[in-house]
Symmetry: C2
Subunit: 249 residues, 2 copies
């Protein structure tokens, strides 16, 4: 079956306490588009964070000693480094001005996901949602209530990777969709058991959706339609590899 | 614009020296589907490798000392380990029976991409193509000649990642499509310069296409339609991060 990935244009700039789902349903109505049961609604982290007030003005930040030292070393803004450190559970690497953090959620990414681009105002940074899975679940419930459609929700952010150049979108929050498609124990046509394969379905949804979402044209939402998926209560925490099992920290 | 990801079913089991493009065009014709200018044709590595004869019967392999020692340590098949070592430029990790290799192409992946599943016969392994970019270029040229369509071609494989559980499809061969969408130097609506973002477009195409391709239902090909992309002579080598710039080896 053909998969459709439909960009949703026309969302306004999102501000703290905005009704994100309401604005999203308005944008869909203007585009003559409706959510359907079984759709996957893909939402960029930045609009979720903004609607939840996860925005910090750098003028309000007083950098501590560690942020000042790191700024001295790297030439980076000490106030932004202070925010990054406050979002960091553990520094995984700090080399050549690149800071790779483990966030409180357990994600490994640059600058703990704190980002200055598309913040909606100058000298402002956007933080990851406090609990992106809860954000996804809330959006899913609201869509069910207000648009009467049972969708899955994936909240995405743009992460770098080890070993490979370039960034891709990944899932940082998931509701209503099994994050991993497990082939373990299944057999290929020659009878060979597939021993290790687990496909990160929501990460692939996030990556595929980025192709229509873009960064500069204010399209932070997409609909993935035609994908059979397993409904599940599992979350993006399924993707967090425990440090003890990780060969690359 | 809506993106369509169309699975191509009905390919037979591919064997060495098979005319892969011919079989693919036959399958498309049976499905009443035609390639169009601007399509991205996504092909799973395994059928490319098989058509190129990159298949080894383990009965024909004599393991060397190192493979025998690693087999002793891990309980793995020494003949398969011998093939993996022959495809490995450098061992990145060998721990708890997990072997992460740098391949001759510069990719970092488990077992140098050597895989026993879906090999088409028992006790057989499939190797990565010798030059997946050249394979992609060859398929692209043949499609232009035989189907009169200018498409881009992405050859995919399923890789694990650092830090995150689950596998995703990535691009190991690219022809006719710019691998990286570079936002560097561009500005967001607030005027902030996007300093580091380069999107790995072909990796996202590979990931999104996996959603329709599956592993057990013999659907190793998909068409991505409706994606504006830059034509380029760059290849999947753009994704290979030089060891000197890599914080995670």
């Amino acid at each position: 079956m053909t998969l459709a990935i439909i960009p949703v244009h026309g969302l306004p700039e999102i501000r703290p306490r905005d009704d994100l789902v309401g604005l999203l349903l308005d944008a869909l109505a203007r585009a003559n588009e409706r959510l359907q049961d079984g759709d996957v609604l893909v939402v960029a982290q930045k609009v979720v964070s903004k609607s939840e007030g996860r925005v910090v003005r750098l003028a309000d930040v007083t950098p501590g000693e560690r942020a000042l030292a790191m700024a001295e070393e790297s030439g980076k803004d000490p106030r932004q480094l202070e925010v990054v450190l406050s979002e960091t559970k553990e520094i995984v690497r700090w080399e050549r001005g690149v800071l790779i953090s483990e966030t409180r959620h357990g994600f490994i990414c640059a600058n703990a996901g704190v980002d200055r681009s598309n913040a909606g105002a100058p000298d402002t940074v956007v933080l990851l949602p406090i609990d992106p899975d809860a954000s996804a679940a809330r959006i899913r419930d609201e869509i069910a209530d207000r648009a009467h459609a049972m969708v899955a929700v994936v909240i995405t952010d743009t992460f770098g990777r080890a070993w490979r150049e370039g960034h891709t979108n990944v899932a940082i929050g998931i509701a209503g969709l099994a994050p991993l498609k497990r082939y373990i124990g299944q057999r290929d046509p020659a009878g060979y058991e597939l021993r290790v394969t687990e496909i990160a379905v929501a990460d692939e949804i996030a990556a595929g959706s980025e192709l229509v979402m873009g960064k500069l044209d204010r399209c932070p939402v997409a609909i993935v339609r035609g994908l059979p998926f397993d409904v599940s209560e599992e979350t993006a925490q399924e993707y967090v590899r425990p440090a003890a099992r990780d060969l690359f920290r």
